[in-house]
């Protein structure tokens, strides 16, 4: 009988938490043959990623995954033998009791309870990865599993065949440069009457940039700059907070499907993109502005330069996390100051004293462009490097096997 796993996810805000869980659930199911039940507290957020989800159902089968509303979990719920609580969300107490009872009454195969944490490149993550947190009075332990960028961590989510898919897409896409932007836009917004296919254009030196970010006071400055440059920039703005800021900058409301030319800047306003379409956007652009965790990881698999806006924390706890990633990401690349400088500016982190920093975001952008080719090469190499470290779903499955073997032996 196929193994059955339960994944619990509480949506804190945005789409990152459920985005990671949904991807993981699908990969476990489709690639590893595991029956997965996904528990989520805010089903409406999942409907954006997976439109087939019905809001009025306690439990439903979608795309091979059983999706259940958190509130449906009760004393009668049969527990799985592998349970993942995503991002320290604390599974319901009734479920915990059932899990403990199963662990004590039917110890084989052993129950494995995992806390899947957020992604970080910090050193301490590898030191804590895979360690158990003790139960108060029982032998049922919870294991901390940390995604990460090194072999000492759990790795990153990556579907089988993704690299090849990206490679093929990019080969095809770059062979039709003059048509690329309008065709991509048409594909992403749909070819309905409201969003007619824009006429073809050829703009030598055009840069394609995707923008997905939290509120950022630097957006208007960047838009001013791009619109005043001599070289054209096509900016694909994804639906969300950034759209509002761009609309403010334009001075009038914007909606998905709008396409405006302001100086050298072409603004292309996108609807909410389901994951496959968002991937396509990332693969197509020369630079990707991403945020949070899920889009950040997807951009790393896109072989293209990325600019990360980390989820901001009041106590600036995110600064160390960003620096840790930068130091790992930029190892072995020249001109790394230009990237770290831009990233720090974008994240409002005070510049390091050790290098002379740019006077503004415009200056920092120019510096990035100077070594675009090298960064492009590095983006590919970085993805190759990550690829060699396995992937999160496989690593999770291997970890569960290891824990079961150890538990059975003891």
């Amino acid at each position: 009988m196929a193994d059955r796993w339960d994944i619990f996810c509480r949506v804190i805000d945005n789409y990152g938490d459920i985005g990671v869980c949904w991807r993981l659930a699908r990969q476990l199911h489709y690639e590893l043959g595991i029956r997965v039940r996904l528990w989520v507290d805010r089903l409406e957020v999942l409907t954006h990623l997976c439109p087939q989800v019905q809001m009025n159902q306690g439990c439903q089968q979608v795309d091979g995954i059983e999706i259940c509303q958190w509130e449906s979990c009760s004393e009668e719920t049969l527990t799985a033998r592998v349970v993942i609580e995503a991002f320290a969300c604390e599974i319901p107490s009734c479920y915990q009791r059932s899990l403990l009872s199963l662990h004590e009454s039917e110890p084989n195969p052993p129950v494995v309870w995992i806390n899947l944490e957020y992604l970080s490149a910090e050193d301490w993550v590898s030191e804590c990865h895979g360690l158990a947190t003790p139960g108060s009075s029982t032998s049922l332990r919870k294991y901390f599993f940390f995604p990460g960028f090194t072999t000492e961590t759990g790795g990153l989510l990556k579907e089988a065949g993704l690299r090849e898919q990206v490679r093929r897409y990019q080969q095809e896409f770059t062979s039709q440069v003059s048509q690329a932007t309008p065709e991509l836009w048409a594909r992403l917004v749909g070819k309905s009457g409201d969003n007619p296919l824009p006429e073809s254009h050829e703009m030598p030196g055009e840069l394609r940039v995707s923008l997905f970010c939290y509120l950022n006071p630097l957006i208007p400055q960047l838009l001013d700059y791009w619109s005043s440059r001599s070289a054209p920039t096509s900016l694909f703005v994804t639906q969300g907070l950034a759209t509002n800021q761009v609309a403010e900058w334009c001075g009038h409301p914007l909606k998905a499907g709008d396409r405006l030319q302001i100086g050298a800047l072409e603004l292309l306003i996108l609807p909410f993109l389901p994951p496959p379409a968002y991937d396509e956007l990332l693969w197509s652009c020369d630079f990707n502005f991403v945020r949070g965790e899920d889009s950040f990881v997807r951009a790393q698999w896109a072989n293209r330069p990325l600019i990360w806006q980390i989820y901001p924390q009041e106590d600036s706890a995110h600064h160390k996390k960003l620096e840790a990633f930068l130091s790992l990401y930029l190892r072995g690349i020249c001109n790394l100051e230009a990237v770290s400088e831009f990233w720090r500016l974008w994240n409002h982190i005070p510049p390091d004293r050790s290098w002379a920093h740019a006077s503004g975001i415009e200056d920092a952008w120019e510096k990035l462009l100077h070594f675009r080719q090298e960064w492009n090469r590095h983006s590919q190499e970085w993805a190759d490097r990550l690829d060699r470290k396995g992937n999160l779903a496989n690593n999770l499955q291997m970890f569960v096997r290891k824990i079961r073997e150890e538990t059975s032996r003891s």
Binding site: E117, E122, W124, E127, C128, T133, P134, H318, K320
Partner: protein, 189 residues
């Protein structure tokens, strides 16, 4: 027995885990971004001597045992133990491993009064005063202009390999205050 948050645990604390008394050898607090704050604990089972590592959320409640304590002073080291003496000249040997977190503060003729903890009459850990004073054996010279105190540099303590970050104006031979709970520099004396 009392309850303590995992994030407040320090080397020397004894907690009950799955029914066993475990002394904390090292507590490493970690928090970044959206991750829950966690503490990596290296602990020794007082009954079996087995050392294990675990990770717990910093807000997790742990059952702490309050054990007998005595004020002592450091006498000498005879690896793998360090010897402490109480006011009645009773000597107590403590495993160096148990003191992994605070061993770096030991020095000959040390006058700091430490607190030795006992479990079933056996000395098991040492807690230093919150603030101690130590001499800097080596640090790079002050860089011209870096006198604000906000810039830090590495310094090594005398009688110890312990390296910590100090303010840029600290020089070799200076006496500095150290917070023993965090291992961090507080100020120059």
């Amino acid at each position: 027995m009392s309850v303590k948050l995992a994030g407040d645990l320090q080397s020397g604390n004894v907690v009950i885990v799955e029914g066993n008394p475990l002394v904390v050898l090292k507590a490493q607090y970690n928090k970044s971004g959206r991750n829950a704050a966690v503490v990596k604990l290296r602990m020794k089972n007082l009954l079996t001597g087995r050392v294990s590592e675990t990770v717990v959320k910093a807000d997790e409640k742990m059952e702490q045992i309050i054990l007998d304590k005595k004020e002592c002073t450091y006498s000498y080291s005879a690896p793998p133990v360090h010897v402490f003496v109480d006011g009645d000249y009773n000597q107590y040997e403590i495993d160096a491993e148990t003191m992994a977190d605070v061993e770096k503060y030991l020095m000959p003729e040390m006058t700091d009064v430490v607190e030795v903890t006992f479990y079933e009459s056996k000395p098991i850990s040492v807690v230093f005063p919150k603030v101690i004073i130590r001499e800097v054996e080596y640090t790079e010279p002050v860089t011209r202009g870096d006198t604000s105190g906000k810039i830090t540099k590495a310094a090594v303590l005398k009688h110890s390999k312990y390296e910590l970050q100090v303010s840029a104006f600290v020089e070799i031979g200076d006496k500095i205050e150290i917070d023993t709970e965090t291992g961090e520099f507080r100020r120059r004396c």
